[in-house]
Amino acid sequence: MWKITYRIRRQKGDEASHYDTFQVEVDPEEYVLDGIEKIWAFEDRSLTFRHACHHSTCGACGMRVNGVEKLTCITKIKDVTQDGGTLTVDPLRNFPVVSDLVVDLGPLYRKMEAVHAPPVHPLSMTPWEGEDIRPPKEVPTPPEGGEYIRLPDCLECGICISACPVAASDPDYLGPAPLAAIQIQGLEGHPELLALADSQQGVWRCHSAFECSAVCPSSVDPGWRIMDLRRQVTARRLKTIIG
């Protein structure tokens, strides 16, 4: 077992935020979220944080660990500190703070709705194995015909928005996850999304910092997808000009 210090940002109601520190005994194989849950269970019942699935499929537990956006349920303590070390945990940036580590992801969910991000989609639309970004060439199909359906890679966790330098300065910017959701659908099959993608808040607002791709916990690679979406937008514009 390790003895480590959690330094956690606290904020209730309208009060100013501050850090509280907790000394915790943890198994270094445990995850950052386990330690936070332990602090809540045994040290301070007033601590609030978001969590649900504990294995990176729901996207609820995004926080900043030592300044970097992480899904805390799959971030092992041994990978972000050492025995006797300190872990600093902050809420995600670029969202309103509700309480302590809890932020309101409502703005992201509304943008995902605006771009019609599909809650489930055919298996052939995104990769389903390994690290590749492009859809697989061959996928199994049901004996009775049709296509198998899957949940998308994007967890709607807000981590990409928190890391995005443009989202920090412009709350109206659609941001990485919603733009990636347009790219996955494709403007070819969804011309109704062109206006949003090509708008002031769309692809041209991105500064290509690629912070989103660096922190995305679910291999969506929004930075690459935004660049690809620019290509799609340009192609459609050219088509309009040429006729």
């Binding site: 969590h51 649900a52 504990h54 294995h55 729901c58 995902m112 489930v120 049901p142 949940l151």
Partner: protein
């Protein structure tokens, strides 16, 4: 007459489904939840939309509940479900010997079951153990745990239910006779405490029901029984893969987005709020999971977690306790009026659990309003944040 007011404690699958059902039946609904949505057992569930196959031999009551609800959930909340079916796969001669018993059990419970050849099974799931001896298709599915609860909650909210998250029940409000008339809560987001009065309180806290009934000097017999699950970083299967045999440890592999999740185990605990991980069980999941899907050994462990089932009954070996559910009117059980407790069950049966519970609530208040949740499509999970 003004609307009756119900307080629901707990916003897991059961609590959110109850809030939705109550709202549809015309109640004023207040949900209090000490954490965020689905932060207890519900969020950490394996994510198997049961066909009932798993229970078709030994626990047919649960199996029938599962197949009925499986069909309903596919219809009312398709956007959180991968409806790709499931396979029961025989690897050993012992598995194969179980096949006829299994098929008979499924037929008894009305669960459609089809045998396919090992070659066809390998076409559908190339990562299956190539040594498989038999494969049966059943209508299993998989679902996203948080979004299932959010969909029920979003629909309840649209119909007027009010959710107080991060708000913990610290005591019951009792009248002179010891009957429940509401709850005392602590809102942890702003550190305030206040009372909420109601006509009825529904305790939907799953493995934690005992903490609530204790405050009302009532009780329910449950055995909190955790199980471990391990997520690996490759989507190695596209449907539920079950071992064709009696339910045992690590005999189910499921897809979740780009992951494969192996589960689970079954053991007893004392403290429900914090259950540490036993690495031996993690090893067991790898070993058992790889018997079904050998490529798991080439994948990387991504997350290890634990969920605590609220099984009904006094302590006993977890696998032998039925997975069915039960709603209790504490007037009958402890002579405490105003409190109903629901526990047991499976994620797959949460809508039926809500229906049964709200039937009891309506009966207690002398109301005769039919349940319509089997027909009403749920709102988008994203609408919860509106």
């Amino acid at each position: 007459m003004s609307k009756p007011h119900a307080i629901v404690i707990g916003a897991g699958f059961t609590g959110t489904a109850i809030a939705h059902d109550l709202a549809l039946r015309g109640f004023d609904v207040t949900v209090v939840e000490r954490g965020p949505i689905a932060s207890g057992t519900s969020g950490r569930t394996h994510g198997l939309l049961h066909s009932g196959g798993r229970y078709a031999v030994k626990d047919q009551e649960s199996a029938i509940e599962c197949i009925e609800e499986n069909v309903i959930l596919r219809k009312i909340v398709p956007e959180v479900i991968e409806p790709n079916g499931g396979l029961f796969v025989a690897i050993t001669e012992d598995d194969l010997a179980y096949k006829e018993t299994f098929i008979k059990g499924c037929e008894d419970c009305g669960i459609p079951v089809d045998e396919i050849t090992p070659q066809e099974a390998l076409r559908l799931e190339p990562n299956l153990n190539p040594k498989l001896l038999a494969a049966l298709i059943v209508p299993d599915g998989t679902f996203d745990p948080l979004r299932l609860a959010l969909s029920f909650a979003a629909t309840a909210k649209k119909n007027g239910a009010v959710f107080h998250l991060f708000t913990e029940v610290v005591d019951m409000l009792l009248d002179g006779q010891g009957n429940v008339t509401g709850v005392k809560v602590w809102d942890r987001t702003n550190n305030t405490r206040y009372d909420i009065h109601s006509d009825i309180v529904v305790n939907a806290t799953g493995a934690w029901v005992g903490q609530i009934t204790k405050m009302a000097h009532a009780h329910v017999p449950i055995s909190p029984t955790p199980g471990i699950m391990v997520a690996y970083d490759r989507r190695l299967v596209n449907r539920a893969i079950n071992r064709l045999n009696r339910p045992s440890d690590g005999d189910i592999v499921l897809p979740q987005r780009r992951l494969a999740v192996v589960g689970t185990t079954s053991f007893s605990i004392d403290d429900v709020d914090y259950v540490p991980i036993d690495r031996q069980q993690v090893e067991l999941m790898l070993q058992r999971g790889a018997e079904l899907i050998p490529a798991i050994r080439q994948a990387k462990e991504r997350g290890v977690y634990m969920a605590t089932r609220p099984l009904i009954g006094a302590s006993g070996p977890g696998r032998s306790i039925s997975r069915t559910f039960k709603a209790y009117d504490h007037k009958d059980l402890d002579n405490v009026d105003g409190l109903v407790t629901i526990t047991g069950g499976k994620a797959t049966t949460c809508r039926a659990m809500a229906e049964k519970t709200v039937d009891i609530v309506c009966g207690k208040l002398g109301l005769n309003i039919p349940c319509t949740t089997a027909e009403v499509p749920l709102a988008s999970y994203r609408a919860f944040y509106d």
